[in-house]
Symmetry: C2
Subunit: 478 residues, 2 copies
């Protein structure tokens, strides 16, 4: 007995070798001219591709209807998704029990970005894609954005370009691959597989696709409603990419960010301490949820063209007719969830010993698989709070106090998934504080470095979709 088998090292570059920092840093260089060209292309694609979307009554939906037994809104094939009821009971937060409609879409889809080197610079393959719920037609979307039904169907090869690179990527080509949750106030345990896969460029692409550098993408993230949610969440999982300014000698923001992303530099808390805090927050609140018939949801009523609360808080479920670009006839009809009012999502950051830290919130939302995920410092829907007569959330005052000053590092209105949500917009902000608001810590908030955050992003169920959007936006500050 002395097994001596040689390790079968794959004959390709290993994942770990692909992520050498200077590769990402080179792609992340500022390129306003290139970014402007991408915007022109999006405007052009918008003319060619944007759907015409109009509100209709539920009766006008084709093959969608309310189940006679449960009242659930579903497609007659049982495919796509359904709108059902959710009962929530918890022992934490200002509201301890409620019912609400929720989207149930148990299939795991793929959100994937292909990357390749062009002239020695890493580029991401993005798509100009129109979704019925988008405020502005076409947005910059990942290479692939496919439900399981899309990509396992008989015509999958034809209907989803580039899907084969994600289903059979080959050894050593996967840079990021993780299941991530989506809006857990609106989706019940919905998750998508977030992937980044490298191919040997150049790869020919059609007119709706374009190779974009990280630097261009970072610039576009700061434009209102341009880079879609799916692109942002996949981009958040890119390993590294904050090192652009590493090695500079000043203590500027870029350096604080680069130091924060360097896992060899410690933060306020060890990763073990943070994992213990997260476990505590996942354990301490009791959160019990169960799907119930939509008909059994109290305080909500069904009108001919929407399901809504009497007090108009939160959102409505509505129905739309979607016409293909340049044609008047209906392409399809579907339900969408329409949030009421624009939300606020803000990450408070501060430097400790020259290392940037983000103040994360272990937030309970009913659609998570775990009790909590890490959300940005503040996640606020003003209209819902005022309808319920609730106090504004913790640390909102810190964010609003910074407005109009150079402490606002990022400020843009970004859209949530337009395939399920109608005009769902949030104002995303990153705000730096000088005073690390130490006297204001709560059991639900904790400071962590960007390296710790991106470490958690390699695993399922830690960082929520709003926080992932802001991690993507943080890259633009490097």
């Amino acid at each position: 007995m002395r097994p001596t088998a040689a390790p079968p090292v794959p004959p390709v570059l290993r994942t770990a070798d692909r992520m050498i920092p200077h590769r990402l840093a080179r792609s992340a260089q500022r390129d306003p001219v290139g970014a402007a060209r991408v915007r022109e292309w999006i405007a052009d694609r918008n003319t060619a591709r944007a759907h015409t979307v109009s509100r209709v009554t539920f009766e006008e939906l084709d093959r969608w209807g309310f189940d006679t037994r449960t009242g659930n809104l579903r497609h007659d094939t049982g495919r796509f998704f359904s709108v059902e009821g959710l009962r929530v009971e918890t022992d934490t937060g200002p509201v301890r029990s409620w019912n609400q409609p929720i989207i149930n879409q148990p299939e795991i889809g793929i959100l994937g970005i292909l990357v390749a080197e062009h002239d020695g610079v890493l580029h991401c393959l993005l798509q100009a894609k129109s979704e019925p719920g988008n405020v502005n037609g076409v947005q910059l979307s990942p290479t692939v954005q496919a439900t399981r039904s899309n990509y396992t169907g008989v015509h999958a090869g034809k209907s989803v370009p580039f899907i084969e690179y994600f289903r059979s990527p080959g050894d050593g080509r996967v840079l990021s691959d993780v299941l991530q949750s989506e809006q857990a106030a609106w989706f019940y345990r919905k998750r998508n597989r977030n992937m980044i896969v490298e191919v040997d460029g150049p790869l020919p692409v059609g007119e709706d696709f374009r190779w974009v550098t990280l630097g261009q993408l970072h610039e576009l993230c700061a434009v209102d409603n341009l880079v879609n949610m799916d692109t942002r969440t996949v981009l958040a999982g890119m390993p590294g990419g904050f090192e652009g300014a590493a090695g500079t000698s000043d203590r500027g923001l870029a350096d604080a960010l680069a130091r924060s992303a360097d896992t060899a530099i410690g933060g306020l808390h060890t990763t073990g301490e943070l994992l213990s805090w997260i476990t505590d927050r996942q354990t301490e609140p009791e959160v019990r949820t169960s799907l119930i018939p939509l008909d059994d949801v109290d305080d909500w009523r069904r009108a001919p063209d929407r399901v809504h609360r009497d007090d108009e808080a939160f959102f409505s479920v509505v129905a739309v007719d979607v016409a293909s670009p340049g044609r008047e006839v209906s392409a399809w009809t579907q339900p969408l969830l329409e949030p009421h009012g624009i939300g606020r999502v803000a990450m408070v950051v501060a430097r400790f010993d020259g290392v940037l830290h983000a103040l994360m919130h272990a937030r309970v939302e009913p659609g998570y698989l775990e009790a909590v995920e890490l959300a940005p410092t503040v996640q606020w829907t003003p209209r819902a709070y005022s309808s319920l007569g609730l106090e504004p959330p913790e640390f909102l005052d810190v964010v609003t106090a910074a407005e109009g000053t150079d402490r606002v590092l990022f400020d843009a209105e970004l859209s949530e998934e337009g395939g399920r949500f109608l005009h769902a917009r949030n104002r995303y902000q990153i705000v730096e504080v000088a005073n690390p608001v130490d006297d204001r810590t709560t059991p639900d908030h904790q400071w962590m470095t960007i390296g710790q955050l991106t470490g958690l992003l390699q695993h399922n169920n830690y960082v929520n979709v709003q926080a992932r959007s802001l991690v993507a936006c943080l890259r633009g500050l490097a």
Copy 2:
């Protein structure tokens, strides 16, 4: 703007500093004499503490009964746990859809081990605890083994000794803290919080508690049915502890293990590649489960004293009366799940370039939160397989071929949780192969190092309870 707040470093030893390898190595030294004394103490405690357990009919249960509407077996307070039905549909494996009874216990309990230095050597505080389902009365249990109802009740402080160290451990004292699943063929999404917390010894303890070194504990793990499941799963999460033999110059097993645990030494696959494989396995099979009334479970019938399948496969749900030690009167009654036959659990290991690797199985079980968790190479219930006429599992032949040779590195019969299962025993084995059975790889099996496995053990939902038991047993080989 240039925030310069000093980082508030906790004034105690930080977690990362506590885990210096020589601290664990010193505690892990062999101590057969000390281990024998622990066995004597267990035998003594067994005389004093073992319950008398007898099978009764469901009618004889006190305050437990079948719900008239659903047939679910539950306590009349709704507390503890209930036995309900589960419907499973999947597109993978030899059986694609079935119903079964399952234990639903949504509360998260605490399994905790206190550690402290005595005379410069780290010791674990263990408890001699009798559970009604144990084959042999008292087993070696963690410091704390408490359901949420136990520890949040008004008398929590009194009824659960040492619980305060786990609920308010203080900065820098938590060595391990993670939510881990339990038997997902029998439990629906049950998880416990697995914790290791350090205190400044010595701490006075009662006659049912004892401070035990890692070396003693490793020795006792190899004794049939002595170290209970809860101790094994907590012990698996101990960071480090495989380094005992590091630095020795030969290429023996201990060195292969120490090299395997060293995260600076690479394995066959990078951790990124393994995470991508796990994500793929979590995504690829469709597994849909829903709780249903126990009355709606097909192929199972309710007899006066058990719920069982017509063909006697899998398990029965039974009822027991538990009498306190030395007394004839009933202390309490409760249902238990009684598996049919002794199971087999085996981990195949092999050395690649002098680094020990374990062949892990991405296994679908209906009670996981995710579709799969990593199981040992083989997890087999012979009676269930023969009842259903199934082929033996992949790699079982590799395990049986090793029997009677020095390639069997570990072989003991260990018990599963005696608070819920009646005489649930598995034969646990670790088997080394010379030929790394490369031509036999399946999409569901992958080689990984011990360092990669213990890295995953820091996070929820990756490694199943059977594999965690074997990780604990692997430590004894160092």
